[in-house]
């Protein structure tokens, strides 16, 4: 019997604290616990969706994975092309730079993430140049190929981004991310700035590219419908911690954490005949600079009991490959969506 293949990415105990500085001497008055002990893995060719509300730490997690910002603690293991596993935190800057070609990012806002003074050829060709493709001719060929792949006409490569619509700009951003044949692509809210009628085009493109190029996605989003469409597994974050992680259909059909259930019931469905029994949460998201004791969700949780107020729930595997951080996960019967 062969062992399960090593995951492409494994994150263990990731933590990122941002200092809060106060006063003339800029003394550290406390920390925003943006990401507070997050662990997960992603297999090759898989999409892990990372959902949560604003300020839950999903974007910070994604950026730490790429070491676009330095994590405070934790380990990030990535399996590189030759099969060996490296820990990103141990790498020297030059080694990290070489590894960057395997990990790329797609950003939320296609209007601010593309330099308006660069043509498509420069934008998409820049990573090629940085990583040593010196011949302009070669770059042009590769850029033409990439533009075709994302559904843009290669003739457009001398134009500037302002000539393109939001959806087309997002395609340019995707072409740029794919230029170096990455294996891991981190997409941070890639469709949330787009018109409704264009979102589906980009989601379908991401699905097709994944199948063709055997990409692995970490897909960060706040929209649970979008995440369901693209993810194999989904992780839910709340105030810097992961509260649940499971296969997509299982998480939506049978959530085990009250916060996941609340998110699912809050998503307004485009069907007036579905008047779901809303599980309406009281209050607002906790402040990550001064989170409550115990389970961070307890002040809003309709099922909270004494232990929730004092003890941090353990991250437990409640059924195979289904993880949850809730004291009462075993006894609660929560409603999902079909």
């Amino acid at each position: 019997m062969s062992a399960a293949p090593t995951p492409l990415l494994r994150v263990a105990g990731l933590q990122k604290l941002f200092p809060i500085r106060k006063g003339f001497l800029k003394r550290t008055a406390g920390y925003v616990r943006a990401v507070d002990g997050v662990s997960f893995h992603i297999d090759e060719g898989e999409t892990l969706g990372l959902v949560g509300e604003s300020g839950c730490g999903k974007t910070t997690t994604a950026r730490c994975v790429l070491r676009a910002i330095e994590p405070t603690a934790g380990e990030i293991f990535i399996r590189v092309a030759n099969g060996s596993v490296v820990e990103l935190g141990q790498l020297r800057p030059a080694e990290l730079r070489a590894l960057r070609r395997e990990m790329q990012m797609i950003f939320q806002d296609p209007f601010t993430s593309l330099n308006p003074r660069m043509t498509l050829l420069d934008l998409v060709g820049e990573p090629l140049l940085v990583h040593g493709m010196k011949s302009r001719r070669e770059r042009e060929e590769r850029v033409a190929d990439l533009l075709r792949r994302v559904g843009l006409r290669p003739e457009y490569m001398r134009r500037f981004p302002h000539a393109f619509s939001g959806g087309e700009r997002q395609r340019i951003g995707i072409a740029r991310a794919l230029a170096l044949h990455p294996r891991l692509v981190v997409a941070d809210e890639p469709v949330s700035a787009l018109d409704v009628s264009v979102q589906a085009q980009i989601l379908n493109l991401l699905v097709d590219l994944q199948a063709d190029l055997r990409l692995t996605y970490l897909f960060v989003a706040h929209d649970l419908s979008v995440v369901r469409h693209i993810s194999n597994r989904v992780a839910v974050m709340y105030v810097g911690r992961m509260v649940e992680l499971a296969k997509t259909d299982e998480l939506y059909r049978a959530p085990r954490h009250p916060y996941t259930a609340a998110l699912l019931s809050a998503a307004p469905e485009p069907d007036p005949r579905v008047r779901s029994r809303r599980l309406m949460l009281q209050g607002e998201v906790a402040n990550p600079a001064a989170p409550p004791g115990g389970c961070y969700f307890h002040p809003r949780c309709p099922y909270a009991i004494d232990v929730c107020r004092t003890e941090t729930p353990a991250w437990q595997e409640i059924s195979p490959a289904h993880f949850v951080g809730c004291h009462r996960a075993h006894e609660l019967q929560l409603a999902g969506v079909e």
């Binding site: 509300e53 604003s54 619509s165 939001g166 959806g167 087309e168 018109d195 409704v196 009628s197 264009v198 979102q199 589906a200 085009q201 989601l203 379908n204 699905v207 706040h222 929209d223 649970l224 419908s225 979008v226 369901r228 469409h229 997509t248 259909d249 939506y252 609340a262 998110l263 699912l264 809050a266 998503a267 307004p268 469905e269 485009p270 069907d271 007036p272 005949r273 579905v274 008047r275 809303r278 309406m280 949460l281 607002e284 998201v285 969506v337 079909e338």
Partner: protein, 334 residues
């Protein structure tokens, strides 16, 4: 007996005349809002939904201006009987009558609660100002009213919040305060322009529920403008679908979602991801055209699956009535 609608917009055209060209932001829009119901206006960026709202309130920024059309609004009367109807399009934007209507009889809440309050005045002083502008009574009385309003919209410890600045409130609390200000003069029509778009989904649920509850208590009509079909399905009684400055279809909410007629409405419903399904999405081809190069004929024809050459690209479809409450603007139904 059906009373005449509270608001009746007829063939409204608001154009922006610029050096780069003419932008027909609103190009012949007609719809009615009945008393006490919610009309949802749904559309993508550039469809003219916000300019329509601003036209009704007569706060269109230069160089935009209403070039044609009527906006009939029935003003409330003192004794509760049928009020007098005025055409807002003919009023002076800063004249006495328009100022008496705006903010009092027709109130507006915006998408961005952060930028709709002044950052240097307390929440309370801004609501007090709105109250004193339209209602008799002293400062003390207006302040008590403000605290009561804040309590009513679910702002916690309103006695303290009333003296806070808007940046001391969370997004959800700011939107509640915004709603309190909008309701301060008992409007008969509340225009809500993307009221929950900047909010998280659990906060959105709270705000939508609050709006529904306040509508039941006060009986005001709501014109809810959004791009989110989920919000429309939860809130609206009737829906108008807009595309590039036109209403392409209007019907009761159930018909829009379960018997849509216009190819744009049908395509939009097929293209949105749904929380209950993982089926591959059916996208709409192309993108919303730039307002400077608006297609001829039916504005949707370059993206339409049922495009008929020679008709759709040459002539403009008329709004056609199908059944009692359903209108559509498409050659398939003419």
């Amino acid at each position: 007996m059906t009373r005449e609608p509270l608001l009746s917009v007829r063939n409204l055209k608001t154009y922006f005349i610029q050096d780069e060209g003419l932008v027909k932001a609103v190009d012949g829009v007609s719809f009615d809002v009945a008393e006490g119901v919610t009309l949802g206006i749904v559309g993508e960026s550039g469809c003219g939904k916000s300019v329509t709202a601003r036209s009704i309130l007569r706060i269109v920024d230069r160089p935009g201006r209403i070039v044609e059309g009527e906006i009939h609004f029935r003003r409330p009367s003192a004794n509760g009987g049928p009020g007098r109807t005025v055409d807002l399009a003919t009023l002076e934007p800063n004249g006495a009558e328009m100022r008496a209507i705006r903010g009092a009889e027709i109130a507006l809440i915006f998408q961005e609660p952060m930028s709709s309050f002044s950052p240097v005045h307390t929440i309370g002083s801004q609501i007090v100002e709105a109250i004193r502008l339209h209602q008799p009574g002293g400062r003390r009385e207006a302040r008590d009213k403000t605290i009561e309003l804040l309590r009513r919209v679910g702002v916690s410890s309103p006695e303290e919040r009333v003296d806070q600045l808007s940046n001391q409130l969370s997004g959800g609390m700011r939107q509640r305060a915004m709603i309190a200000m909008a309701l301060s003069c008992h409007p008969t029509l509340l225009i809500a322009d993307e009221p929950t778009t900047a909010l998280d989904v659990t906060t959105q649920t709270q705000i939508l529920e609050l709006m529904r509850q306040l509508q039941q208590e006060d009986g005001m009509a709501i014109m809810l403008i959004t791009h989110d079909l989920g919000v429309i399905a939860t809130m609206a009684t009737d829906v108008a679908v807009m595309y590039l400055g036109r209403v392409v279809e209007q019907a009761p909410v159930d018909a829009i979602f379960h018997a849509p007629l216009h190819p744009y409405t049908r395509a939009l419903l097929r293209s949105i991801p749904r929380i209950r399904s993982r089926a591959r999405l059916v996208p709409i081809a192309g993108a919303v055209p730039h307002p400077y190069d608006r297609p001829t004929g039916c504005p949707f024809h370059p993206r339409c699956a049922e495009f008929k050459a020679g008709t759709c690209d040459r002539q403009e479809p008329r709004l056609t009535r199908i059944g009692d409450h359903h209108t559509v603007s498409c050659f398939l139904y003419e």
